[in-house]
């Protein structure tokens, strides 16, 4: 408990604001729901990177990703990445929801997935797969 004591100009001392000790009850939830959200985000990022590289490496894939002509292959790559992200979350969440996991392991896996996804979206990387 802490008090803010104010000494007024007329010499009076007043406790202007008094902080009272209060209790906050927190009911802990298993971390599985968070783990599922983090891993599926990592998976979505990975798929985005993989599809960016695949589209560069394969003309057939490049053409297949052309879901919307005005947008070009980016339409297919982004739609499929979001579908992979949502689908993986839909699969992982019910399985992991009421369980708890070693979060350090989850973080390492997510870091690898996101890191690989970032590398896959980097032009200097995916251009390595471009046909001669």
């Amino acid at each position: 408990m802490a008090t803010i004591r104010v000494e007024r100009a007329d010499g009076r001392t007043v406790d202007e604001i008094e902080w009272k000790a209060e209790e906050l009850e927190i009911v802990e939830r298993p971390n599985g729901a968070a783990a599922a959200a983090i891993l599926s985000a990592g998976f979505g990022a990975l798929v985005l990177g993989l599809l960016a590289s695949l589209s560069e490496a394969s003309t057939a894939a490049h053409d297949w990703f052309d879901f919307q002509a005005r947008v070009g292959p980016l339409s297919g790559k982004t739609i499929m990445s979001v579908v992979a992200y949502v689908a993986s979350w839909a699969v992982l969440a019910p399985v992991m929801w009421k369980r708890s996991f070693a979060l350090n392991t989850v973080f390492v896996i997510a870091a690898v997935l996101i890191g690989a996804g970032l590398v896959g979206t980097f032009p200097k990387f995916f251009e390595l797969f471009a046909p001669e």
Binding site: W19, E22, E23, L24, I26, E28, R29, N31, A33, A34, A37, I38, S40, A41, G44, A45, L48, G49, A52, Q68, R70, V71, G72, L74, S75, K77, T78, S81, V82, Y85, L103, N104, F107, I114, G117, L118, T121, F122, P123, K124
Partner: protein, 177 residues
């Protein structure tokens, strides 16, 4: 002074949504960082948690709106192919960059990276928004989850930052008219 439909959408995509994104990120990050038991009172937690939930939700929603408008509204104007006999490429930014010596890399590197990496942002921001909305006050005592959320949140911002900065430079080199 006249602003075309294309310029309006480009400004909405890059500046308006970008500004909301920045504000929401700053609020969300400050909220996540200061969510420590030694710094907050019960009343403070209630006020802070509401602000945090709004901040992370708005950031995730705006990130989705930004990439969707960018990809499906603005990007087609950027990549539109000019007619074969076109001599003025000013309305075809992609072709203008590729045909202008010294500017090719704004497309081959800049736009190629921007159009992909930007999509990381809403995906990562959504994970953070979910964690904050679902776990709420538990983040005060669950340091690991809070720190993980902060890292994901910063990564989401960094991805959007790369895309936003490249977008600004590309627009300067070849604006969408």
């Amino acid at each position: 002074m006249e602003v075309s439909n294309r310029e309006t959408w480009a400004a909405l995509h890059g500046m308006f949504f970008g500004a909301i994104f920045l504000i929401a990120f700053a609020g969300g990050l400050a909220g996540l960082w200061s969510l420590r038991p030694e710094w907050v009172t019960v009343n403070g937690i209630r006020e802070r948690m509401f602000r945090l939930k709004v901040g992370v939700s708005v950031m995730a929603a705006v990130a989705w709106v930004t990439v969707v408008t960018g990809t499906w509204i603005v990007y087609p104007w950027y990549r539109a192919a000019p007619p074969e006999d076109a001599t003025d490429l000013s309305k075809y930014p992609r072709s203008l960059l590729l045909e202008t010596p010294g500017k090719e890399q704004w497309h081959t590197f800049g736009m190629e990276w921007k159009e992909h990496v930007a999509w990381m942002s809403p995906i990562l921001a959504t994970a953070v928004a979910f964690i904050v909305l679902y776990y709420g006050n538990q983040l005060i005592v669950d340091k690991k989850l809070r720190y993980a959320s902060i890292v994901l949140y910063i990564l989401a911002f960094a991805a959007a930052g790369v895309a936003g900065a490249l977008g600004a430079f590309i627009t300067k080199a070849a604006p969408i008219l």
